[in-house]
Symmetry: D2
Subunit: 143 residues, 4 copies
Amino acid sequence: MVESAPMSEARSFSIRVRVYYEDTDAGGIVYHATYLRWMERARSDWLRALGERHDAMAGQGLQFVVSEVDIRYRRPARLDDLLDVDLEVLEVRRASLRLTQRTRGADDGSLLADATVRVAVMDRHTGRPAPMPKRLLDMLGAP
Amino acid sequence: MVESAPMSEARSFSIRVRVYYEDTDAGGIVYHATYLRWMERARSDWLRALGERHDAMAGQGLQFVVSEVDIRYRRPARLDDLLDVDLEVLEVRRASLRLTQRTRGADDGSLLADATVRVAVMDRHTGRPAPMPKRLLDMLGAP
Amino acid sequence: MVESAPMSEARSFSIRVRVYYEDTDAGGIVYHATYLRWMERARSDWLRALGERHDAMAGQGLQFVVSEVDIRYRRPARLDDLLDVDLEVLEVRRASLRLTQRTRGADDGSLLADATVRVAVMDRHTGRPAPMPKRLLDMLGAP
Amino acid sequence: MVESAPMSEARSFSIRVRVYYEDTDAGGIVYHATYLRWMERARSDWLRALGERHDAMAGQGLQFVVSEVDIRYRRPARLDDLLDVDLEVLEVRRASLRLTQRTRGADDGSLLADATVRVAVMDRHTGRPAPMPKRLLDMLGAP
């Protein structure tokens, strides 16, 4: 199918992050909640790359909220490490997405943490689930 | 059994937290990674109440690290909210604990987020799992 | 003067904070930006004690923003430390306050950091300075 | 002087940052302490570009600590903004540096915040000031 390549491209993404002091804790390793911040950066950059800006969605009274995170920490990252944080879409629903997100060492690709994340679109005024912008659903190959 | 009451007390704990600006994001709600910070505060205060200080463990080259978090966000918390963050021990192993941790509104007890968390003891020098202090295992009623 | 005691009370405040992993960095000490978070907590609790809630102000389209911080770090705080973070009003203007804020060890009162902070009231829609609620100005003894 | 160009290059630096949800607060703008995190990233990347890694310094028992920050917030940054955070060395002493650090909009160069920051080298074991690595002092043109 002609669109398969772009659709597949739209469904995965990766960013590179550096570990700074702000990301670490007195245990000498990256604080466990930091990985959630990095994964959110990856999702934001991915949505921006797809043309969906948070501020445009906010203008329509919509925002993505995280509804589930299942994360396994495999090996600690440390100050100054360079990491790749990726995402891959597992499931597209009308009002939510489920993704897998991995954090790896940029040098050797070793797995540091892997997570499954569900993000849902919420109507800011009602606090209720709302459908995703149709353009985004189409790009993600929603049925 | 004589020890059942204290043992049971040792296995659950709760702290109260206030939502400050630092905890929120531009979506007008509490940032999702903030709940992990609060849950860690509850675990730290609980261990301190049991007589296990992070610095004493560090003196033995040991530290707790989070190895798994499965969290479901049920309802957003907002600036100025007062919340209760609790924990209950689900499973005690020689080198790790599994807990359930809930965040509730302090006024009405409504559930905001619930999580299952595994923390493991790590040897800071080798990065390998290490047994928990025996005193702590005893207090938690380890077999 | 009859009101001098309450007025003076309204102009100073203190909170107690515990140092958790989230507050520290891989240097083994409290991350320097953490003190700003604690000082903000002290200001929020102080305003709440005076009856000014952030959400009520937001309802009027107003919010406090930090416009200046001058901070000196004297001695590092560490994991598990118990600290007192205080504030004292130095100057009251129609649309801003200048405060001094100190962080001390709770056990010995030793000074860890001291800061001068200016907070200004901003109109959320225009982004421009706005006068403080009159009730607050009165409580702070504004001329 | 022959070395003036490289020396001058060694004394200024800039990084580009994106504003993510983690950086903002419920006021809809960037949380004020976030600027300190960004300025620290700029200093870390700058030191790395000069060949001074935090972990190598830590191996010698040394670390940079922030001893003073004077910051003025001029205009709020918002979610999705792209910003430039720079630094320029104002003063080089044997055991400390004073820098000016500005945060600007990447599109129009408009000033959001400007700060003067002092960082000092601390001996991790004694907690006392320690001289900077000689190589770094030379690169910064210390007398």
